[in-house]
Symmetry: C2
Subunit: 239 residues, 2 copies
DNA sequence: CGACTCGTTGAGTGATATCAAACCCGGTGG
DNA sequence: CCACCGGGTTTGATATCACTCAACGAGTCG
């Protein structure tokens, strides 16, 4: 399962063995529990998602919450803190979440000493950063309709890639309040926006299941381009 | 000068030599010129700032611009793309900008094969990501006053650390429109907000020079905590 | 059958955007 | 030296998107 993540980025040689040899602990979290808390010193271990969804969040002084990214199977949860001393944000489970934990120091070693693995991790971290940038744009410069459409598109595509859906629809286990916190809107306004999208025929939904009939049109509305997800396999530099 | 950056993160052994041995080219950009353009394939070289300021930006379909981060002397400009194939955003000079360029492949090698250097670069990239997250929060969940105050605080502190100011004040070579694009507001509203901050005695300004009399109070207003900048030297894991 | 969380809807408000004009100032050219 | 120009700043008037407050409905859990 760790391997699944590795191959996604680009082929490795035999250091695949090194990864599989990593001692790891499986762990499950229930719905709204914390994997990591803002302000804590970094943990001794580093975890990534085996199944389920999680999100990163930060709090403003007013108490307002901002969800900063969403993660699904195959994503690292605290790669972002692998080399830092303090957690600058919290990570929380969105539904039943299964993670695999490995020793932080062991992972650091792997990353620093095995070039192929290091490269894979770099790609992962840089793509995460790219997503953050896109979110800054999303939240900073797009109107409500575009914002939530964009979120739906991103999650859809990433789920599809992770093999969790066929791109036609999926269950998004987020409350409208959480969606609002992710795109910088009120739950009330998210509700209205979702209804508007539905009445335009851009999405269909019942409960928390979302369905897309015309992804192309939705993407147009969402100002969505998959470029920032860097889905192309990164070459070891064209040599 | 490359060294300055390295020591900032944490001491290295003799691979300092490896860095200094890197062939590099100095280059200067004038005010509004591009260092990198969104959508381009990654360059053959990787540059970081010797002097001057630069910023990253992305465009929405409406033509609206979002500035996604600001960089000053010592910052890497395209570390963010070191292992990716396409630029997902543009980088532009804010004033006269001097950069040092090194071969991308040479840098990759260094990062992947020399653990100490790799660690330093990791820290740099992860801190950048942390700043992106803070910006998502800033733009998503704070009101105008807090947003621009926060931007002023961040730039001030980072400049101070880079030795470019004493924290009492500095020249911010951004138009109000650019400030707006950085915090997700209109230039008009930025103007009003700045005036409000000034009339509250939180900042003094003439032209583009900003002066702080009571940084503590400004930070309180800005909801600013330096935690996300991860200024503490990162230890190679407490061993 | 409460009690709770989440979703939905309405009415009223407010923060920020939009539009437009005036102003300031450094630069340039006559 | 002055007139003009252009980019940036400042200000006012008005518009609007999204927020707030509040209530109600539906589903779920004990």
């Amino acid at each position: 399962m760790v391997r699944k993540f590795e191959t996604r980025v680009h082929l490795d040689a035999d250091d695949r063995a090194a990864i599989l040899a990593l001692p790891h602990v499986l762990r499950t979290y229930e719905a709204p529990s914390y994997v990591l808390r803002e302000g804590e010193p970094s943990k001794k271990h580093c975890s990534f998602i085996v199944s389920g969804l999680a999100f990163r969040q930060k709090l403003a002084a007013t108490g307002a919450r901002q969800i900063v990214s969403i993660h699904l199977a195959g994503d690292f949860l605290d790669l972002q803190h692998l080399f830092l001393n303090w957690a600058d944000h919290s990570v929380q489970a969105l539904n039943r979440l299964q993670t695999a934990e490995v020793e932080r120091s062991a992972l650091q070693d792997l990353v620093l000493k095995r070039p192929a693995i290091g490269r894979a991790m770099w790609v992962d971290a840089l793509v995460d950063a790219s997503i953050f940038r896109e979110w800054v744009l999303n939240v900073g410069r797009r109107d409500a309709r575009t914002r939530v459409a964009h979120l739906l598109c991103e999650v859809s595509l990433r789920m599809e890639i992770a093999g969790l859906t066929d791109g036609q629809g999926y269950d998004l286990p987020m409350t409208q309040e959480q969606i609002g916190d992710a795109v910088g809107l009120t739950s009330v306004h998210v509700n209205r926006t979702l209804k508007a999208l539905a009445s335009e025929g851009l999405i269909r939904r019942e409960k928390r299941h979302v369905q897309f009939d015309d992804m192309a049109r939705l993407r147009a509305v969402a100002d969505f381009s998959a470029l920032y997800l860097h889905l192309d396999r990164t070459s070891p530099l064209p040599a």
